[in-house]
């Protein structure tokens, strides 16, 4: 499934001129406020008719200014989750969820009402009205409503922007669950690095109405030349894991990934749930022998893959932990003292507390 977008539009003095294409998986439209992300998504959804351009989904043209074609929003079958939720206030949660049933025969994508209700934890809310839901609950309902409309692609426009940190975490967790469930392209608009890092496979970096870079999260966000558009971003590695065990007494979770396990604090997820962690390169130390009598909880056998060029006394070392890549940032002197070279067997040391998931930066 491919969504390809090429749009030019003017809104007052603002000019949008952006193009990108995405496949199944989560594509983040990332950029600061005013970069034109929402305008672009509205054009994809069919809520805005751009001046010029071409939008195509799986070979089907949805918009083409050259031949004056514009498929209306209702026929595009793109689920849209808005920043403010936009639940229908006169309907119960249940009625909101099945709203599309009134208009579409094939209303149930993604496994039917019961499944979505369970996936998003909406069971207790079904008979309530949007007026007395919390912000996080509203966004979960909005997400369920979009999924139940049988979408071919999902557009999420800063769904967490209006939530406080706690609610954000609550909804992020459900987004992570959903991410693995559905096999359609997801366009996720955000200006928050931690959301992009946790959810996105590909990042489309936007600035002042233009696409400035496309690529995977680490590639794009770590590029020094893009720093003005990205903001402060610490290099690191994203690892997809699954919860293997929860130690309630010590408040620690064990996450399994291809290459071993990680012990982490602060993971509010059930055993078996997918969890993404991001390990900043500077939080990874390297040892030649497995250290004993040390506070560090994560000691992972690794192999040096390559060593980057030194930049002001610092080098980035690429490691392989089983089948998973891991970056470590150490001083040039340390790399020399340990005689690090590609192929060398080492141990990667990561403090459990450095893996606080909210500190993605």
């Amino acid at each position: 499934m491919t969504l390809s977008v090429e749009v030019e539009h003017e809104l007052g003095a603002f000019r949008l001129d952006a193009a990108f294409a995405c496949e199944s998986g989560v594509t983040a439209l990332f950029g600061q406020s005013g970069a034109g992300k929402t305008t672009l998504v509205n054009a994809i959804a069919g809520l805005l008719r751009p001046r010029r351009g071409h939008i195509e989904f799986n070979g089907e043209t949805l918009f083409d200014s050259a031949c004056g074609m514009h498929v209306p929003a209702r026929k595009r079958r793109f689920g849209y989750v808005f920043q403010e939720g936009r639940l229908f206030p006169h309907l119960t949660v249940r009625q909101n969820l099945v709203f599309s049933r009134m208009f579409r025969r094939v209303a149930y994508g993604a496994g039917g009402l019961d499944h979505i209700v369970e996936l998003l934890g909406l069971g207790d809310l079904l008979h309530r009205r949007p007026g007395d839901l919390s912000g996080g609950e509203r966004q979960r309902v909005a997400l369920g409503r979009a999924l139940l409309a049988g979408p071919r692609a999902l557009l999420l426009d800063e769904p967490l922007a209006s939530l406080d940190a706690h609610r954000k975490e609550e909804v992020l967790r459900y987004l992570e669950l959903m991410r693995e469930e559905i096999k359609i392209p997801v366009v996720y608009v955000s200006h928050a690095v931690e959301e992009v890092v946790r959810l996105a496979d590909t990042v489309v970096l936007m600035s002042a109405g233009r696409v400035v870079a496309v690529g995977n999260v680490e590639e794009v966000m770590g590029r020094p030349d893009l720093r003005p558009a990205v903001g402060v971003f610490e290099g690191g590695t994203v690892i997809d894991t699954r919860v293997a065990a929860q130690d309630m007494d010590d408040d620690l979770a064990t996450l399994a990934f291809d290459g071993g396990t990680l012990t982490v604090t602060n993971v509010d997820a059930l055993i078996g749930e997918p969890v993404r962690v991001r390990i900043r390169a500077r939080d990874v130390s390297i040892a030649l022998d497995a250290p004993s009598r040390i506070s560090i909880q994560n000691v992972l056998p690794a192999k040096v893959v390559s060593i980057g060029a030194p930049v002001s006394g610092v080098v980035d070392v690429s490691l392989a932990v089983g089948g998973t890549a891991l970056r470590s940032r150490v001083t040039k002197r340390a790399a020399n003292q340990l005689a690090l070279a590609p192929g060398r067997e080492v141990y990667a040391l990561i403090k459990a507390v450095s893996l606080d998931r909210s500190g993605a930066r």
Binding site: P89, M102, F103, R145
Partner: protein, 234 residues
């Protein structure tokens, strides 16, 4: 209530009911246009809609008579092609009431339609709703408090309508003599005071009931439109 009084009350209710039923769809359409669309002549339409509110009712009644009377352009046409006569009939009374209540109905509906966030309608479109779907599933339910208010205001106005009715369809007992007209007739004959007073009291009771009902309905409808349970929880 005597049989005669009951007849008068029933006739008044019939006239008021039909005036509301007939004007509701038109008023909704006009309210929607005024709230949501920009078009040349919008201010003129707005002014025309409000005319019955500021004109003396006699003027409205007279124009209705001129246009819809049996020799009037529209009246003659109606009679010739459909065999319908409205002058001096209860249907004519209903038309007079509908015209007089129209601005009240449109005002209330327009306000509540204008208050609806168009973003909700956009959200409905992404969920597959076309224009009629959006209208019936989102816009109208959300405008319900205004619609209810408009209907009841116009209904109450119809129950009390006097000038336009008496000018257009006269004061014919059993056909066009609604409550206010009957009261007026009774005050014109010697010894009719007691009977007039009885009708006045009936009139007050009817109006109060309409107001209370409207209050309750509006409260219920607005709670819903705001996203709370209609009954309210604790």
């Amino acid at each position: 209530m005597s049989a005669l009084e009951l007849d008068i009350v029933l006739l008044s209710l019939k006239v008021a009911l039909w005036s509301v039923v007939a004007s509701l769809p038109v008023a909704l359409a006009v309210a929607y246009l005024l709230a949501r669309r920009d078009f040349p002549g919008k201010s003129l339409l707005d002014a025309v809609v409000h005319l019955p509110l500021v004109l003396p009712p006699v003027v409205v009644g007279y124009f209705l008579l001129v246009l819809l009377g049996r020799s009037g352009p529209i009246g003659a046409w109606l009679e010739q092609w459909f065999g319908v006569v409205v002058a001096f009939r209860w249907t004519g009374a209903a038309i007079a009431c509908a015209v007089m209540g129209f601005p009240l109905m449109v005002r209330a509906m327009r306000l509540s339609i204008a208050a609806i966030d168009p973003k909700l309608e956009a959200a409905a479109a992404t969920l597959g709703a076309g224009r009629p779907g959006i209208l019936f599933a989102v816009t109208l339910p959300l405008a319900l408090p205004g619609i209810v208010t408009g209907v009841l205001l116009s209904f109450a106005r119809s129950l009390g309508e006097f000038g336009a009715t008496i000018t257009f369809v006269s004061n014919i007992p059993g056909e066009t003599q609604t409550l206010p007209l009957a009261i007026y007739a009774l005050t014109q004959v010697p010894g009719g005071d007691a009977a007039a007073l009885r009708l006045c009291i009936i009139s007050i009771v009817l109006s109060l009931a309409a107001l209370l009902a409207s209050e309750a309905l509006v409260r219920r409808a607005s709670r819903r439109a705001l996203g709370y349970d209609a009954v309210g929880r604790g």
